[in-house]
């Protein structure tokens, strides 16, 4: 099985703040990590490879330092890695990003399955996975929590898709694209051998020219949405601490919430 995993390097979001002077994001000093949901995508890819053979290629679009994320993926067991990086891609929204990534997936060669995390923790859009499948015109299954069965010969798979109420069992032909949630697996830690391999691994680098993309559909040009402004949310007002023993505080709280619950 040839599997392509699309990942994103994200700042450890919990640390991101706005510079009140310039009204831009302060990213310096913030550690960059592989988007946590993409760790499950990488792990699932590697598990499928271990079961069915084939290879796992990891693709990311981002600035040159996103190479670190790719090397980490190799240390975990990915076979190949591609960095999509070009100034022409700057300012891409989810439309342009999924277009560019879909071109990279096509260039990466024959594939049976594309795996993405359900969403990235910085933008939280959950739009790029389905976007890539729409551009590639392949079936999609989002929020996959379990791969029940893969029939590599008949080229189809059966998965469980998480919903608000439970889950759905869905069958899809291959190739298709899935996005995965945390429940699907427990990602492994890199092995020492993997780390050594990651150091030496060659990372392919593709720009706009290599992907044969339409210049009107990438970067700012290809992005229908624009950010008008960013701002810090109103902080929550200072709360009230209720004092007293268990009985007293319970009485107070019930009184305070009475109108809400009745």
């Amino acid at each position: 099985m040839n599997i392509i995993v699309c990942i994103k390097q994200v700042p450890d979001t919990t640390e991101v703040r706005i510079d009140p002077e310039t009204n831009t994001l302060i990213r310096s000093g913030v550690e960059c990590i592989i988007n946590p949901f993409d760790m499950y995508a990488i792990e699932e890819g590697i598990r499928l490879k271990e079961k069915f053979g084939g290879k796992v290629s990891v693709v990311t679009m981002g600035p040159p330092q996103a190479e670190d994320a790719l090397r980490e993926a190799i240390s975990l067991g990915a076979d190949e890695a591609v960095l999509i990086s070009d100034r022409a891609f700057a300012g891409s929204d989810t439309w342009a990003t999924s277009y560019t990534l879909s071109k990279a997936v096509q260039k990466a060669g024959d594939y049976d399955l594309v795996i993405c995390g359900k969403q990235a923790i910085d933008g939280d859009t959950a739009q790029v996975g389905p976007g890539i499948s729409a551009h590639l015109d392949i079936p999609q299954v989002t929020y996959v929590k379990k791969i029940e069965e893969v029939d590599a010969e008949k080229r189809h798979m059966r998965v469980e898709r998480m919903t608000e109420e439970g889950y759905e069992i869905i069958e899809s032909p291959l190739p298709c694209l899935i996005t995965v949630v945390k429940e699907i697996n427990e990602p492994r830690l890199p092995s020492l051998k993997g780390k050594m391999r990651a150091k030496k691994a060659e990372i392919k680098k593709w720009g706009a020219k290599d992907l044969n993309v339409d210049p009107d559909l990438i970067g700012l040009n290809g992005s229908p949405t624009k950010v008008l402004k960013i701002f810090t949310p109103q902080p929550r007002g200072k709360g009230q601490i209720l004092e007293g023993d268990a009985k007293e505080v319970s009485e107070k709280l019930v009184e305070l919430l009475r109108s809400e619950v009745l």
């Binding site: 729409a134 989002t142 759905e168 298709c176 945390k182 044969n212 950010v227 402004k229």
Partner: protein, 402 residues
């Protein structure tokens, strides 16, 4: 699917003419021109071009033009998702907001409803303020499936040209609308918590949290229509029911190909454990590591039951195996915004806070007075949850007479 020549790159070298098996290419004024009636999009010319001047795109120029013909697009649409033939409350929330937007713009508010035997539900959508409801009724649309739903919605949008399309940021909405927006080159903003209109420019101002709620961003879509957004559940107020409100139901049907799906929905499994869906709940009682063992979750469940609420859990409690992942609130779990969120024995790691800090009222019960959960709590109780929670359950039971 389409193909086009990038004129700035084309040198008129004619290599593509030789490569084309269908004689579909000619060079006019030193630029390659592809006759679309002959072309079958085989891509041979793309291989042959030394200047990367020919590209295959999923989007045809007419579709790009469609998105850009701003003045032809009119009306506010709300995709009303249904499950088991019932319109979900998120749809009514969007109709409430959609009515405001439509009134500001002076246009119609329209509902879109796909499913099987849904005419009665369409009437309800009208009673919630829609001027029109576009319905597509077919057994093939009974349950949500990405491909038929997106193909139908794309066709409806192309035919009726709305300027705004809203959809719930649910597992259905987010999967469906991303696919639709790509195909019509529309701008799409995810998981909005605020929507407004810039009257002068007739633009939808879409405000959403990013970076786990640490910053807010306002997004616009100046040059493409429709402007599309998914909206977080429970943030907007439901439209009120007015049984006298009149509107038009417009039914469409499509060919089998439109309803076809490559994926196949085999079964729908409802996990009815604790009955209430976390993202739908008005009240959530959550437990964390402070509960010490899985048996103690019973305290949380009892309080939730008395309040008619749902049970949540911190990541620590889920990772320890005390609760299943479907209960997890926080960054790698669910984002919730109920009216009341009661956190018991949860310290309030930032990963948890980002999933619940937009709740209306937050109650924190924790023995550590320095726990970060108290920074976001409306009401904080420092103390032993094993004493306080049962007492609270008792009190609420008395007040609510359960």
């Amino acid at each position: 699917m389409s193909i086009r020549v990038i004129n700035e790159k084309c040198t008129g070298c004619k290599l593509c003419i030789k490569a084309c098996p269908f004689a579909a290419i000619d060079v006019v004024k030193k630029k390659a021109v592809i006759a679309m009636d002959k072309c079958n999009l085989c891509g041979a010319c793309i291989e042959s071009c030394k200047f990367d001047a020919i590209v295959l795109t999923k989007i045809s120029p007419s579709e790009i033009d469609f998105a850009k013909k701003i003045e032809q697009h009119k009306g506010v649409w709300v995709f009303c998702e249904q499950k088991n033939g019932v319109v979900q409350s998120v749809g009514y929330e969007l109709l409430g907001k959609g009515r405001e937007l439509a009134d500001t713009l002076g246009v119609d508010l329209c509902g879109v409803l796909l499913g099987e035997n849904i005419k009665a539900e369409a009437q309800k959508v009208i009673h919630r303020g829609a001027n029109k409801v576009y319905i597509v009724d077919s057994p093939k649309l009974k349950h949500y499936q990405s491909e038929p739903y997106s193909k139908v919605l794309i066709k409806l949008i192309k035919e009726h040209k709305p300027e705004i399309v809203l959809c719930g940021a649910t597992s259905i909405g987010r999967s469906l609308i991303s696919r639709v927006a790509i195909s019509i080159h529309a701008g799409l903003t995810a998981d909005c918590t605020g929507l407004d209109i810039d009257k002068k420019e007739r633009l939808l101002l879409q405000t959403r949290p990013a970076f786990g709620g640490n910053i807010m961003a306002t997004i616009i879509c100046p040059n493409h229509r429709p402007q599309m957004a998914t909206v977080r559940h429970k943030v907007m107020k439901e439209a009120e029911v007015n049984n006298h409100h009149r509107g038009k139901i417009i039914e469409s049907s499509f060919d089998d190909d439109t309803y076809s799906s490559r994926t196949n929905l085999l079964d729908v499994v409802e996990e009815i454990e604790e009955t209430v869906n976390l993202t739908e709940a008005d009240i959530i009682v959550s437990g964390g590591r402070g509960l010490q063992n899985p048996e103690n979750f019973q305290l949380i469940e009892e309080l939730a039951k008395v309040l008619g609420g749902a049970v949540g859990a911190s990541r620590a409690a889920v990772d320890a195996g005390w609760k299943t992942y479907s209960h997890q609130v926080g960054q790698t779990g669910k984002t919730v915004c109920p009216k009341i969120y009661i956190a018991c024995g949860i310290s309030g790691q930032i990963q948890h806070l980002v999933g619940m800090q937009s709740s209306d009222v937050i109650v924190a019960i924790n023995k550590d007075q320095h726990a970060p959960i108290f920074n976001v709590a409306t009401y904080g109780i420092v103390g032993n949850l094993f004493e306080i929670v049962p007492e609270l359950t008792k009190r609420f039971r008395e007040v609510l007479k359960k």
